[in-house]
Symmetry: C2
Subunit: 336 residues, 2 copies
DNA sequence: CTGTTAGCGCATTCAT
DNA sequence: ATGAATGCGCTAACAG
């Protein structure tokens, strides 16, 4: 029985056991083709006997290739991210990379810290829906290859989910249902997606001649949605488009509490399709493509790592409205 | 402008710039108290000028302390885990540890691979709801400090969420509502929690004289729950206790599709309280305490890392029934 | 207090 | 095809 519990078996021990030089053991793992098949086999056998496992850290120090990357998200518990995280991991795994997960808690400072903390031990970083300033992001991008998801900073590779197209469809959808007065419940002010969505509703509303108001739910959460309901109702609107599904769900709950029926008296549209058809009534929302975004971000990052060439690449994923059951005709009004 | 993009500034360069030995630079960061305040300041200044950042990897190689740990879960997208993940990160962060997140996709082999892949670069590993065999787990525990969540393997520190107490309460609750024929929709066969829950319903049912059947939904998912509905109904039961909330939600949806009203005609109980009151009708479930589990697991692991002493520590978190709106009196039957 | 000297485990020249 | 030597960047005795 080998396996010294701590420290682990080293290349030297294997070398001795196999009766070869340390470099040969190293080569047996990294460039087997440089060795005679028998030697490789002998080494592998010795290694197996001793329970040798290459030390990732030592290798990283020597080669500069860490073999891992980091993914930082604002909130793991937000259902928008898990599928993305999962997709990123799967994709990273395909190229034998490990991924660090960072949770910034929607806090720019925390995000900055994580960035610093990770950058020392990963080859590249993916920043999803960052809340950090452009300047800080650019600064970090100078130190490590960085890929952004849902954020547009000049000179930095990114994957953008264009929720604008879907939001425009949603606005049209509401107009078709004769809603004249709608409200957009906005998310984090530092969120690129929020700016984009907000702009999209605004533009579409203008074009369609709708009356648009804004209510803010600074942090995207069930709670925030719940608390936004009074403000929404006060605007006299008959429909709301929420920054995301979670917020929309909170709005739905708040509406329920106040006895406002959906979609009978009020229509709600979410965004991101993070909840699937799981809600009741099932939520009309905008598709998210977060899985593709996660996958793409990783392959883009890997590409950047491979060739120093890739500089300012952007992928844009379009979205569409998914009509389910929280939208319907505007209620009849007592006054014309 | 310093900051050479790649490679980074090293301790030697700082040493030269500051006119001191390399070891002093090292000490300035790890043991400033060993140096005169002025020297420290001079070094920090030089470092700042050059944009020096300590290389985590090199430090790890030299000290054996990686400063990170791994957390492996079966499915990031399962709402039971994100809060746990988040809690673990927060707790790890308090001690300045980074955490690798692994997603096994409910696959024992994948889990095994991740374990191997991570163990080279972390000081300890937390395995949440593992699907791996006891043997393999024990084997890995030999190489790296390991802490289990929701799995009981002799000799390995663990945090157990005792859903048994809550499940027993749930069964009692159904019996109080005069349900006589219930079914337990089981989860992964390799899941400790599933075994525990299954045993708990069985025991409680026996004690209460209930008629109990089993339906299997091997993987805990909305889909699996949906597909289990026919089998559930075929058992002639009037209530179901599901392995977890996600499965319960699927069951709810399936029941809806078939026009079976809840809780009018059928009662459903979930487990883990992963969805909160977000479902409609809001789900009667068993509390999970996953946040505490994540936090505890990390502090336990850190404790193990600190003193080689801690060996077989176990924390057990009890759970309770949370009554919401998916349970009600058993429907009247046409035949006695 | 601070400089000198050795490694940590591995990859990689350069020889042979 | 293989061995010997050197260094990645840092920490940790060991001396002064």
């Amino acid at each position: 029985m080998a396996a010294e519990r701590k420290g682990g078996v080293t290349i030297s021990q294997v070398a001795k056991e196999a009766g070869v030089a340390r470099s040969s053991v190293s080569r047996a793992y990294t460039r087997p083709d440089m060795l005679s098949p028998e030697t490789v086999e002998r080494i592998k056998a010795a290694a197996g006997r001793l329970g040798y496992v290459p030390n990732h850290t030592a290798r990283a120090l020597s080669t500069g290739r860490y073999g891992n990357l980091a993914l930082i998200v604002p909130d793991v518990a937000n259902p928008f991210f898990p599928p993305m995280i999962r997709a990123a991991q799967v994709e990273a795994d395909r190229s034998d990379f490990c991924v660090f997960l960072g949770n910034s808690d929607e806090d720019p400072e925390k995000e900055d810290q994580l960035l610093g903390r990770f950058s020392g031990q990963v080859e590249g970083i993916i920043l999803a829906s960052p809340r950090l300033s452009d300047e800080r992001i650019a600064a970090h991008a100078l130190l490590r290859p960085l890929v952004l998801i849902n954020r547009d900073v000049k000179g930095i590779p990114k994957v953008l989910i264009d929720s604008g197209t879907g939001i425009a469809e949603a606005t049209q959808h509401l107009a078709d249902f004769r809603h004249r007065n709608i409200v957009y419940v906005s998310g984090p002010s530092t969120s690129w997606s929020n700016k984009q969505r907000r702009a999209a509703v605004r533009q579409a509303s203008k074009k369609l001649g709708l009356d648009l108001s804004f209510v803010s739910a600074s942090v995207p959460s069930f709670e925030a949605g719940l608390q936004a309901v009074d403000a929404i109702l006060a605007k006299g609107a008959t429909a709301a488009i929420a920054f995301d599904d979670v917020t929309a769900q909170g709005i739905l709950a708040g509406l329920g509490e106040r006895g406002v029926s959906v979609p009978g008296e009020f229509s709600v549209v979410g965004c991101d399709d993070a909840l699937g058809p799981l809600t009741v009534p099932s939520l009309t929302t905008v598709s998210s493509r977060s899985i593709e975004a996660g996958k793409l971000a990783v392959s883009l990052l890997l590409e950047v790592l491979g060739s120093q060439a890739v500089r300012d690449a952007s992928y844009v994923l379009e979205t569409h409205l998914i009509v389910r059951s929280t939208t319907g005709p505007a209620p009849e009004r007592g006054q014309g």
